[in-house]
Subunit: 204 residues, 2 copies
């Protein structure tokens, strides 16, 4: 099913909604109003109604959103209804921490490959995954791994991103502070933790 | 110096500009045009001009932005012109990785305290910082630590945030997937890594 173009801000909120609907299901709640959902998520309810309206008639006026089918619907929209494998590039502290991160499983995401260019690390295991030589990134295409988490030192970011694009990767979660020079076929989401912490003093 | 109210989206981009100006300084570049800056950062130049115009006459038409004073100015605006200490709550893998993260130093940010409620972890050191019992979070007020990184398990997030607010913390970088129930005196920035990875398949 094709949807009309959805603003990036809406797409960014969909995982929050999915998480909320998934949690509601475990609480045996069958329907929820946009107002209740707004309270849980700290958003306003018109925003939620607008976001979810992009996908057609999600809820019923006066009844609310059906929890189970809404969760299913968002999974479909985000293409998370089938498990997605991701590769981690850079087995430093941050990358290694992420392999064990339990939060990915809710979304059906699994870190299925880890690469590093340090020969001392290659062959070691992080949890169940063996660290491979970074030269093997090119094998991602035939392993149908289309997502990557980039957690290399800043000066290696650009070339690693290029290698990933060449290996057919379509989406990169960029944890380095570098802006990755454009490749229109690859969607990049930047998460610069230092910058995020760095804006907090402004609000103090 | 007081500035007029700046949109959150602009504030969020300021650390990027600060990083770029800092890097330019190491490259011995004295001025840069908004167009050149836009290229480096993957933004558009009207956006950059608009963002920086909030702080008065930053640049000179036809000449560009002076690198050194622009960096200094943004540091002032973000209150990063004096070093800022942060506390880490939750010495799990992700938290531990962050203590050693080199990216914070550019912004004058330092993780100066680490808390955990696991007695086996208390007293151990992460780099130069000793892990303290979470009951000691209340000491943050007299240690003048006003920033915190929250990296506890999801079910402990809300109560930890409440304790931090009670200890005088004014800004929290929330790495848990939980929405923290409101406290108007505390600014919270959410960074949910699983959600960020979870939106990438949508774009594939």
């Amino acid at each position: 099913m094709k949807y009309r173009k959805i603003p990036e801000e809406t797409v960014r909120r969909l995982p929050m909604y999915l998480r909320a609907f998934s949690l509601l299901r475990t609480e045996d709640i069958q329907t929820i109003s946009s107002r209740q959902l707004a309270e849980r998520l700290g958003l306003n309810s018109p925003q939620i109604r607008k976001d979810l309206s992009y996908f057609g008639a999600f809820g019923t006026r006066g009844v609310g959103y059906p929890v189970e089918s809404s969760a299913r619907r968002i999974r479909e929209i985000l293409k998370l209804n089938t498990p997605q494998k991701a590769a981690l590039v850079g087995a430093g502290r941050l990358g290694t921490a992420l392999v064990a991160y339990p939060g990915f499983s809710l979304f059906g995401l699994e870190i299925a490959a880890v690469f590093d260019n340090n020969p001392k690390k290659v062959g070691r295991k992080i949890g169940p995954v063996k660290i491979e030589d970074a030269r093997r990134i090119s094998t991602l295409r035939k392993r149908t791994i289309r997502l990557a988490i980039l957690a290399v030192p800043a000066d290696a970011a650009q070339s690693a991103a290029k290698t990933l694009a060449g290996a057919g990767v379509k989406g990169i979660l960029n944890l380095t502070p570098c802006h990755l020079q454009g490749n229109r076929r690859v969607k990049v989401i930047d998460v610069d933790l230092a910058s995020q912490l760095g804006i907090l003093p402004y609000y103090m």
